[in-house]
């Protein structure tokens, strides 16, 4: 190799920062950096910033994909727009307008998409919904351990679930933690946290072990009860309440962010 070939240029340094230099070139660049401490320091800072940026954006990458971005729903939206343009479906038009206004595609697509949900997510949603209906009407003992003993409650549930559990702060939606309980499930222990608002309206956060790699939010509707469920790293999560899908979605997203950040009081955005 001639001296000219070996000369280190700026693009070599950039390739080094990105880990894209050939192994042979890599050695030459490192030899060069060893003799130029100022350049070495600069390159190290650029690498660090690159890593930091990747780390900062990693949680966004790992988030469940919201249902409005599922391809089936987007295709549904396209079909409805086409129908509207052709003047074929007045009812379909209504559905689309309502859905778009709320940031969602029409209700009928949602149910179709739900029907295709993986069994694991569906099972979590069904369990959570059943547990909700059992305890939401309970007057004397809605929770097993109440929120005055929150630390003890979470420690206990975390130990039984084998997963560190936090109680997401839902105060900005008007809900405060009432307490929680341990429940049986076909996958071992399950935890239910219950919240209520000043009017006494209740919602629950349900967690149990679950397998499945699909992390999308799934919506489940049963009578007056709405549930969003998802699977994340070996656990299934569900947020259930007697509210509309649109009302529940931001709460479910806050719970997702709250549980994921491993801290209470986290604010989305």
């Amino acid at each position: 190799m001639t001296g000219e070939d070996a000369a280190i240029r700026e693009e070599d340094l950039q390739a080094y920062v990105d880990g894209r230099a050939s192994s042979e070139r890599q050695a030459e660049i490192e030899a060069y950096l060893a003799q130029h401490p100022d350049v070495r320091e600069r390159v190290a800072l650029e690498r660090r910033q690159r890593t930091t940026l990747r780390g900062q954006l990693q949680s966004k990458f790992a988030e469940p994909v919201p249902s409005r971005l599922w391809i089936a729903n987007i295709q549904g939206g396209r079909r409805r727009r086409l129908a509207r343009r052709l003047g074929l479906a007045a009812a379909g038009l209504m559905l689309f307008v309502v859905g778009a206004g709320a940031g969602w595609v029409g209700a009928s697509r949602m149910e179709t998409a739900s029907a295709k949900a993986t069994p694991a997510t569906t099972a979590v949603a069904a369990n959570a919904s059943a547990a909700y209906r059992t305890f939401v009407v309970e007057v004397a003992h809605p929770v097993e351990v109440d929120a005055r003993h929150e630390a003890h409650l979470l420690q206990w549930l975390s130990r039984r679930l084998g997963k560190p559990l936090v109680a997401p702060d839902l105060a900005r939606f008007g809900y405060r933690l009432m307490g929680g309980r341990l429940l049986p499930s076909d996958r071992g222990a399950a935890a239910q946290l219950m919240y209520d608002d000043p009017a006494g309206k209740r919602l629950t956060v349900y967690v149990r072990a679950a397998q499945g790699s699909e992390t999308a939010f799934r919506f489940w509707h049963e009578g007056e009860t709405s549930t969003f469920a998802w699977i994340d790293q070996g656990f299934g999560f569900a947020v259930t309440g007697g509210v509309s899908r649109d009302e529940l979605l931001p709460i479910a997203e806050a719970v997702y962010h709250g549980l994921n950040s491993g801290q209470t009081g986290v604010q989305k955005d």
Partner: protein
């Protein structure tokens, strides 16, 4: 159709990450991704079958952002910086600052430099692919990437001093 859905869905997490880094707003980022997917579906037949799907999707999203979205982008980076500090895990102060610094600093770069750093540094596109997505010669990619990193360094350095002064 199921195949198309499957192919596209694999790319959605990365498209959301790129959109969020550009817009710094969760809802609007998903709006941009939705636009991107709609356009991809409507142009699916026009796609070169031998072309790389991932690069094609990122090019669509980047073009949509530049043509329609950039104008009303959220600009209150100062607020975003404070949020980042407040929401940060109780780690060593320095760590928290360094984390939010890079993302906040990125916000102050022109779109082209920002996209270069994201496509190459985060999304792992090759220089060649980035050149095609951004529609510029590869030599330009290399020189502008270098300039982008240089600017990022200087912004982070000044940004940190400002923030520390405010914290005191």
């Amino acid at each position: 159709m199921a195949d198309i859905a499957n192919l596209l869905e694999q790319q959605i997490p990365a498209l959301r990450r790129y959109a969020y880094a550009l817009l710094r707003d969760h809802e609007r980022a998903d709006d941009l991704v939705q636009d991107t997917l709609e356009r991809a579906l409507s142009r699916w037949a026009l796609r070169r079958s031998d072309g790389d799907l991932r690069a094609w999707l990122f090019a669509i999203q980047r073009n949509l952002y530049v043509s329609r979205w950039r104008r009303d982008r959220r600009r209150d980076t100062a607020v975003a910086m404070e949020d980042a500090v407040l929401a940060g895990v109780p780690a060593r102060q320095e760590t928290v600052l360094e984390v939010h610094d890079v993302l906040a600093a990125l916000d102050q770069l022109p779109e082209e430099q920002k996209s270069l750093l994201l496509l190459i540094g985060v999304e792992d596109f090759s220089y060649d692919e980035a050149a095609r997505i951004l529609g510029m010669p590869i030599g330009t990619v290399m020189s502008r990437l270098s300039r982008a990193r240089q600017r990022l360094r200087s912004i982070v350095e000044t940004g940190r001093t400002t923030l520390l002064r405010r914290v005191k």
